[in-house]
Amino acid sequence: MKPLFLISVMTLNLLITPTAVSENIGHSDAHSHQDVSANESDNSHDVHHHQSHSVHPVESESDATEPDGQATLTRTDEIDRALAAGGAPIVADVLGVVCDFCAIAMNKIFGDQPEVAAVYVDLDTKALSLVLSPSSSLSDAAIADLAVQAGYRIAAIRRDEAALGVAL
């Protein structure tokens, strides 16, 4: 049994590659969208930046998605208070969020950042909603890095009007 076990472990070691956490995400303009390919393999980070903004009516607060399916800011009391205080909204689509442990990880990591005034992870939309503290900033690269620390990966980031789903 011992040799069988050792062979199994060695074979697995040969088959696997280290968990991909390389950060190819660059800093982007605060108002840009950042799309990271949602490739099934975690080794694929194909980052595309573009400047377009979503043009859609204000979202329904109940489902926190725009008509095209993009998640928008999930509204909670904490998030509403942070918005009222003048914080900037950010929504990030997160890959791999399937349970409350995922949400806890993201809440802990992002909630510990002084730049973040409010955070919520919505399992339905697989989106991380953030509101920054007034006059604070958090780059796309920093958000992606924090998500990696939580054990997850960011697929896209929307800010301000695009995060709220408000027509420009």
């Binding site: 049994m1 076990f5 968990t19 409350d100």
Partner: protein, 215 residues
């Protein structure tokens, strides 16, 4: 001192595979407490995650059938995580080294022990599958290979923070045991940082009680 530590650990384990099943690596800086009790043994693992790819923990385990306890340093490496918009898959390698010591009058004394194995899981918000294995060499207490597979589904999909419920079936294979293969239906409750699994292995009349708390 070691007798005191052992006594405290055994008390903790007296609640009743023992291969940690619920996310053995946490977020960076996270601490997790995992209690597992199956048809043969009961374990308690407290692990800390210094970086998102690995955790290090202290493990105590009581083999009720053979009257020995195991105390090991237990590292786990997240070898691979697959991400998708609606799913997550993980492959872990885990190990441990420490001591095995006789309990309940077992005269075999103490010996060095080591264990290692693999775990893999894949889940969506409504489907779950996993496999785990462990080879344990407990010195003169003997060696054991265990592996188990699980499949389950969630009868409903809860929102963030809701009570999530899963119905699962675990098939457990221990070649060295008289009844080598057993099936354990179980129910998993999951709310916030708490995960509780309750099951029963009918063929050996033993409960399964697993509890996880993530700080």
């Amino acid at each position: 001192m070691s007798r005191l530590v052992g006594t405290v650990a055994l008390l903790l384990l007296s609640l009743n595979s023992n291969i940690s099943t619920a996310r053995p690596v946490s977020y960076t800086g996270g601490v997790t407490l995992i209690e597992e009790s199956d048809r043969q043994s009961t374990s308690l693992l407290v692990h800390f995650t210094p970086a998102h790819q690995w955790s290090i923990g202290l493990r105590g385990e009581h083999n009720r059938d053979q009257d020995y306890a195991l105390y090991t340093l237990h590292p786990t490496w997240l070898a691979k995580r697959w991400f998708g918009a609606n799913h997550q898959g993980n492959l872990y390698l885990h190990g441990g080294v420490g001591v095995a010591t006789g309990v309940n009058g077992n005269p075999l004394g103490e010996d060095i022990a080591a264990h290692g194995g693999v775990m893999a899981d894949w889940e969506t918000r409504s489907l779950f599958a996993s496999y785990r294995s462990r080879y344990l060499d407990a010195g003169h207490f003997g060696a054991q290979f265990v592996h188990a597979a699980r499949a389950g589904f969630a009868p409903y999909i809860g929102k963030t923070g809701d009570l999530h419920t899963w119905l699962m079936l675990e098939i457990d294979h221990r070649p060295s045991e008289r009844i080598s293969m057993t099936a354990t239906p179980l129910i998993r409750f999951f709310k916030g940082p708490v995960l509780l699994e309750l099951g029963y292995t009918f063929s050996v009349n033993q409960p399964l009680i697993n509890f996880t708390y993530r700080l």
